[in-house]
């Protein structure tokens, strides 16, 4: 399957793996790239040296393109930005702000830059400063989220820019990918679906939570603090939401979630930890390999689009 996104990135399928902190290390990134998508390393709050090591490990395992997600609030963001240029990482996605100040450096190293955005104004700005594409991420996504749904955000971003748009948030199968294409996206980014893969180096308890999750299990904490985060519900979210309702202070709330993602991903503590996942977790019922996941989603997307063309009869 070819789109402007596959041409831009030199990949076989326009499926990008989300650069999730703690989850997206070289194991997952290399597996996704080998399977024909774009594997990503999630720099999250990690150090520059960790990122460099991960990049080298991916390069050992695949010759195909891959990328790194740089979370711009990372205290070492400047250092990591430089490492990405030195290592000539093929693709960089960015979150939590604007990567403008790194653009020149990255472009000079031949890096394709794809900011993750959640508003029309940001998308236009990113196009102006030379972004190669944008990821438009709806509120269905896991982790830190914006307000708009994918359904509403993607077409507005598609109308606002001429660079390719990659849809994220609420995508995990052929139906949801076909829908994203209908909205004008030319690729998709998936996070939760890739956590539930054999290759993801994530605690089994975390994966089990996603497989077990039902449609009603998604919660958003931190709306009152201005930093909403989507996770699966557990005793931690119950306590958090109760405190939030009672008007607890930011510090009090922070104490509940500090280090929470690490707890869940690494230690498998899914009672006190932050089990970040998108709303789509309710639709994920089994652990697949990255190859199965990507292969299935592409063939389902094709079938879906053809089925709709056949199933609808237009008035003469």
């Amino acid at each position: 399957m070819k789109t402007r996104v596959t041409n831009l990135l030199g990949i076989r399928c326009p499926v990008i793996q989300g650069g999730m902190a703690w989850v997206a290390d070289y194991h997952l990134a290399a597996a996704v790239s080998e399977a024909g998508g774009l594997g990503m390393i999630g720099a999250g709050g990690a150090s520059g040296e960790w990122v460099r090591e991960q990049i080298r490990e991916v390069k050992k395992r695949t010759d195909r393109p891959f990328g790194v997600n740089l979370m711009l609030m990372n205290p070492e963001a400047d250092v990591i930005a430089k490492i990405l240029a030195e290592e000539q990482v093929p693709v960089v996605t960015t979150g939590a702000g604007s990567p403008e100040k790194y653009m020149k450096q990255w472009k000079a190293a031949g890096i394709k830059v794809i900011p993750v955005i959640a508003s029309v104004a940001m998308a236009k700005r990113m196009e102006r400063v030379g972004a190669d594409a944008v990821v438009a991420e709806g509120t269905e996504a896991g982790g830190h989220i914006g307000e708009n749904t994918t359904m509403v955000l993607v077409p507005q971003i598609v109308d606002a820019v001429t660079i390719p748009v990659i849809a994220a948030g609420g995508i995990a199968d052929g139906r949801t990918m076909a829908a994203a294409l209908m909205l004008g996206a030319e690729g998709v980014q998936m996070g939760t679906a890739f956590i539930a893969t054999k290759e993801a180096a994530v605690h089994e308890q975390y994966k089990a939570c996603i497989v077990r999750a039902k449609d009603i299990d998604s919660r958003v904490t931190g709306r009152s603090t201005g930093h909403p985060v989507r996770t699966l519900r557990n005793p931690m979210t119950k306590e958090y939401l109760r405190l939030e309702k009672d008007g607890a202070s930011f510090e009090e709330l922070e104490r509940l979630t500090l280090g929470g993602l690490r707890k869940a991903v690494v230690d498998g503590n899914v009672t006190d930890g932050s089990v970040m996942a998108g709303q789509i977790a309710g639709m994920i019922h089994e652990i697949k390999s990255c190859e199965e996941l990507i292969g299935t989603i592409i063939s389902e997307t094709e079938q879906r689009i053809k089925a709709v063309q056949k199933g609808v009869v237009w008035d003469e």
Binding site: G97, K101, A118, S119, A121, K124, R125, G146, G226
Partner: protein, 74 residues
């Protein structure tokens, strides 16, 4: 310039122009988040025909700071 900056702020954040002064802080007084700030900056750029690099955003905390910044950059 001050009046125009107030007008744009009022439009972007859905507040009354009359309640705004040079000292009004976007984050503290008006509760603007990062998306709001980028929205506003894009509107300032369009209105005054000059680009504002993202590195400068953190300086632009109040309406007065925006006016000063735009005057200096002229």
């Amino acid at each position: 310039m001050l009046e125009k900056v107030k007008e744009i702020t009022a439009e972007a954040l859905g507040v009354e122009t009359e309640t705004l002064t040079a000292e009004t802080s976007f984050k503290e007084d008006l509760g603007a988040d990062s998306l709001d700030l980028f929205e506003m900056v894009m509107m300032f750029e369009e209105e005054f025909g000059q680009e504002i690099p993202s590195e400068d955003l953190e300086k632009l905390t109040t309406i007065g700071a925006v006016v000063e910044y735009l005057e200096a950059a002229k």
